[in-house]
């Protein structure tokens, strides 16, 4: 059985963010895709690289996570553990989604300047690279020793916010 999609708290630092961004930039240059997004399984947008999307990225992230979750359940119904990648083809724009470390989703938007085959090949390598990066982030968890809890002792400030 595949590991459950975990929901433990996690946080990433600017260094993590830099490494993730670098990997995605390289990937976009290699496959000539327009834009790549990292979305976590709960629907939060983690990163956007490449051409700035002209849609609402928050809404996009939410729908991506829902799309992936619904397809996961469909996979289970037909006896598969999951579908680790999804492809949506449009007339001009297409998108390819892939699971990373069971916790986040890599979404790539591309048009006719590249091909599905090239995107898929390059994506496979990138997923391996991102999996390693994210596993380090997840293994650290949201633990206070690794990343200081910025809300520690902020009770008064929280009270003030909701007065």
């Amino acid at each position: 059985m595949s590991p459950p999609v975990s929901a433990a708290s996690w946080s990433f630092t600017e260094d993590d963010f830099g490494a993730i961004t670098k990997a995605l930039e390289r990937f976009l240059a290699d496959c000539n895709a327009r834009c790549a997004l990292i979305v976590d399984r709960t629907g939060q947008l983690v990163a956007t690289v490449g051409q700035r999307p002209d849609f609402d990225p928050t809404a996009f992230a939410t729908l991506t996570a829902a799309d992936f979750s619904a397809n996961d359940q469909l996979a289970k119904l037909i006896g598969e553990n999951d579908f680790n990648s999804l492809f949506h083809q449009g007339e001009k724009e297409s998108m390819y989604l892939a699971d990373v470390a069971r916790r986040v989703i890599l979404v790539v938007l591309f048009d006719s300047r590249t091909t599905l085959g090239l995107v898929r090949i390059k994506m496979r390598q990138t997923v391996v690279e991102l999996t390693q990066l994210f596993e380090i982030v997840f293994s650290r968890g949201g633990s206070a020793d690794a990343v200081p809890n910025i809300l520690a002792g902020a009770d008064d400030e929280i009270d003030k916010l909701f007065q």
């Binding site: 999609v5 929901a7 433990a8 708290s9 996690w10 946080s11 990433f12 630092t13 600017e14 963010f17 976590d40 399984r41 709960t42 629907g43 939060q44 983690v46 609402d56 928050t58 809404a59 939410t62 729908l63 829902a66 979750s69 619904a70 359940q73 949201g142 990343v147 809890n149 910025i150 809300l151 520690a152 002792g153 902020a154 009770d155 400030e157 929280i158 009270d159 916010l161 909701f162």
Partner: protein
């Protein structure tokens, strides 16, 4: 599962409005959407049927202010209330930080309320979440209707309390919003119980909607602090 993004200096939290069909979950979100400053909220996404029944979820991101230089972004979701849609309802709970159970006060909906509450406990348990230890509150909606049950009846049916097992918590905790009532109390049998905080609302006119949102957001942020 809250997400703290140090690069964009944001704390992102997920709040789910749960409850029986036609109880007012979507109405809560629509009211928030209509009332907050457009620059502090995103788009309201509704995956609904042609008859405006929620099919998958509604989604609304709102910013509630800044704490320690971090923007607090709350992602509000509703689930489809109809029993039939349990598969999609369960998906929405993934990574939830806080739950609002929107109960329908009408006497005729008591059974539907109880069924939805049981379903919430079951679905949370399947993810390994414990509703009794996380930010969770109940909104009794439709308080303006003539056939609304009394708060006492609703509390008895939907919020009878769970047993407190931690000795450190076995002390009376007054309910800050309802003078004379307790969130944690000892029963005459000697057993200590804790209830979820509750609020009253008329979501269709906006009454109690922001109070609910503020209360749950505060619980979520305090759970992170």
């Amino acid at each position: 599962m809250s997400m703290i993004n140090y690069a964009s200096r944001e704390i992102n939290c997920k709040i789910v409005y749960y409850g029986p069909g036609l109880g007012g979950k979507t109405t809560n979100l629509e009211h928030v959407y209509g009332k907050v400053q457009p620059d502090t909220r995103g788009k309201l996404i509704s995956l609904a049927t042609e008859t405006e029944r929620t099919l998958f979820f509604d989604f609304l991101p709102v910013d509630l202010g800044t704490i320690r230089g971090f923007k607090t972004r709350f992602h509000l979701y509703t689930v489809p209330g109809q029993v039939y849609y349990n598969a999609s309802r369960k998906l929405i709970l993934k990574g939830v930080d806080g739950i609002v159970f929107v109960g329908d006060s009408q006497v005729e909906r008591m059974e539907a309320n109880q069924e939805a509450m049981q379903n919430l406990y079951d679905n949370m348990a399947e993810y390994g979440y414990d509703l009794t230890t996380m930010p969770f509150l109940i909104q009794y909606n439709k308080r303006d209707l003539p056939n609304a049950a009394s708060i006492r009846e609703l509390q008895a049916a939907l919020n009878p309390g769970w047993e407190v097992s931690d000795p450190a918590r076995m002390r009376p905790l007054p309910d800050p919003t309802h003078p004379g009532e307790q969130l944690i109390e000892q029963l005459p049998t000697g057993e200590w119980i804790e209830r979820a905080p509750y609020l009253e609302a008329v979501a269709v006119s906006g009454e109690g909607v922001f109070e609910t949102l503020k209360a749950v957001s505060k619980l979520v942020l305090k759970s992170l602090a």
